[in-house]
């Protein structure tokens, strides 16, 4: 049995930032476990730019952003194991690891930071009827093939889902010489950034079919095409609008799910809405001493927020390792009301917050010219004017602890419509 103060599961941007921050807060005995052959996580395949505007005030590509953290991580001489996977975690924080080099290992940690990221929803999860030929990939898998392994999935492409990964892949496929016939989106709006709609679709005249879905897949061995139809307000396909698109490749970009099998086995309580753990202000889960950050906690669209959240997590884990348990004070619950789909963290212990706390949230629809209303019980503590809110863009709100302490047992966030 090996003993560590902190074990971090996952060496993506979340795991790296958490480990670095824990080290800077004095923890010496840290291990980062990564199942891939290198550190950096999903950023290694996100070769486009747009990362880091918030943290570094400049626009970096995914690999550049990752390398800055990897360099700092190595400078701090933090121990790590590659090609090593965490198989199991128990509530008393013993872990089972397996690696090609060392075989099976048992590790005991004082604190664990979960930073496993997320995985993509697959076709099975959304059930499109039709055959199951070759040529259907998740967009992220295709991204890895093209950008890292130099393998081209196909020549004639249709993409389902218009989140940023789908949009970016449309442009990547065009630059790599393929034809992209359409991006199909079930919702009446795209989940991606305007910049990506312009620079990844409009630049190449790729049609974005909103309120559309794929209703059939055709092909025996290899994909031959897909049938696309418009949907009505109840999301049912309208028969008369069916149209066949010839293609040899279908990329699915239909959402991400936090990768939480390990958390479930450890008995950690999950939030049905985020798919991630229920956490308090310190990013600590329902199991004391097990923390979570990054995409395994809730899906982030901007890696900058991942870094910020993970630094906080690394610091909290360091405190957990070194400080005597202290009284948390009152526990305030955060509650998503009208128009808000979720809030992280779920609980705030008043004595554990220094001066202010940042909460992260997502809205459930597109809103223009509205007010974000933050209340404790019925008292309003913040009114924030918002010109534009969209489910694809996470919002962060900073709240002073004074305001929270002076209020009741609940902190609610809601959207006030038609407000000025």
């Amino acid at each position: 049995m090996y003993n560590y103060d902190i074990v971090v599961v996952g060496g993506g941007p979340a795991g790296l930032a958490a480990a670095i921050e824990a080290r800077k807060n004095g923890v010496r005995n840290i291990l980062v476990v990564e199942r891939d052959r290198e550190l950096g996580g999903i950023l290694n395949q996100c070769i486009h730019n747009g990362f880091g505007l918030h943290i570094f005030k400049e626009e970096l590509t995914g690999p550049e952003y990752a390398e800055r953290f990897i360099d700092e991580f190595h400078r701090l001489e933090i121990e790590y194991k590659l090609d090593t996977m965490v198989l199991n975690i128990t509530e008393d924080k013993t872990m089972k690891l397996v690696s090609s080099e060392y075989g099976l290992m048992h590790v005991k940690a004082k604190a664990i930071i979960l930073a496993m990221g997320c995985r993509e929803r697959t076709r099975g999860a959304i059930n499109i009827p039709g055959t199951r030929p070759a040529g259907i990939f998740s967009a992220g898998t295709a991204q890895r093939f093209v950008n890292m392994e130099g393998y081209m999935p196909g020549k004639k492409v249709v993409i389902l889902g218009s989140g940023d990964i789908g949009l970016i892949m449309a442009r990547t496929m065009v630059w790599e010489g393929a034809k992209v016939s359409a991006v199909v989106e079930l919702m009446p709006y795209s989940g991606g950034l305007t910049r990506n709609i312009v620079q990844c679709l409009e630049d190449f005249d790729i049609p974005l079919l909103l309120n559309h879905t794929i209703i059939n897949i055709k092909g025996d061995e290899r994909l031959e095409g897909v049938t696309v139809a418009e949907v009505d307000s109840s999301k049912k396909a309208i028969k008369s609008t069916e149209k066949f698109f010839e293609c040899d490749t279908l990329l699915l970009s239909v959402g991400l799910i936090p990768e939480n099998e390990l958390s479930i086995n450890a008995g950690i309580e999950l939030d049905r809405k985020t798919g991630g753990a229920v956490v308090n202000e310190s990013m600590e889960t329902s199991v004391a001493g097990i923390f979570a950050c990054g995409n395994v906690l809730h899906v982030h669209d901007l890696v900058d927020w991942v870094t910020e959240e993970s630094r906080k997590t690394g610091k909290s884990a360091a405190k957990y390792v070194y400080e005597q348990p202290s009284e948390g004070g009152r526990t305030i619950e955060t509650i998503a009301e009208e128009g808000i789909s979720y809030i992280v963290p779920h609980e705030i212990r008043t004595k554990k917050v220094e001066d202010k706390i940042d909460i992260y949230l997502r809205v459930d629809n597109i809103y223009e010219d509205v007010i974000l209303l933050i209340k404790t019980d019925s008292k309003i503590i913040k009114r924030i004017k918002k010109k534009h809110l969209a489910p694809g863009e996470m919002e962060s709100v900073s709240i002073s602890i004074e305001d929270i302490i002076s209020g009741g047992a609940k902190l609610t966030v809601e959207i006030e419509k038609g407000g000025q």
Partner: protein, 124 residues
């Protein structure tokens, strides 16, 4: 001539209408933008649209077979595909350091193509 440009300077994504005028003090008649940045962006997008290219180049002697690269600044949108053709002609050998210049002054744009990550050589 009339053109519609989607402004990308903020998430609102205004549809900005630009009409080119043959005479008068102002060359363009602009509408649909909610702020001044939209006007500036739309005129730039019509007169001289530019983009950053992020792409990959073949690499040998490394664990991966593609190295990510980028233009170290913006280039004219119309040059993107010619630029890709130039990059496709190249094959690199690991090791490569982040920021290494892969093509200097690509297509006489004054912009370099640089490596956007480091890649070690495979240890034998």
């Amino acid at each position: 001539m009339r053109q519609t440009i989607t402004c990308i300077a903020c998430p609102l994504g205004c549809r900005v209408e630009v009409e080119e005028k043959s005479q008068g003090e102002k060359k363009y008649l602009i509408s649909g933008h909610k702020c001044i940045r939209g006007e500036k962006y739309a005129i730039e997008e019509i007169t001289n649209p530019t983009r950053v290219l992020t792409y990959t180049v073949k690499i040998r002697n490394a664990n991966l077979s593609r190295l990510p690269i980028k233009t170290d600044g913006v280039i004219a949108k119309g040059l993107l595909f010619s630029c890709i053709e130039e990059i496709d002609k190249i094959e690199l050998q690991a090791p490569i350091r982040i920021g290494d210049v892969i093509i200097e002054n690509v297509l006489n744009t004054g912009v370099d193509i640089v490596a956007s990550r480091s890649m070690n050589a495979i240890k034998i």
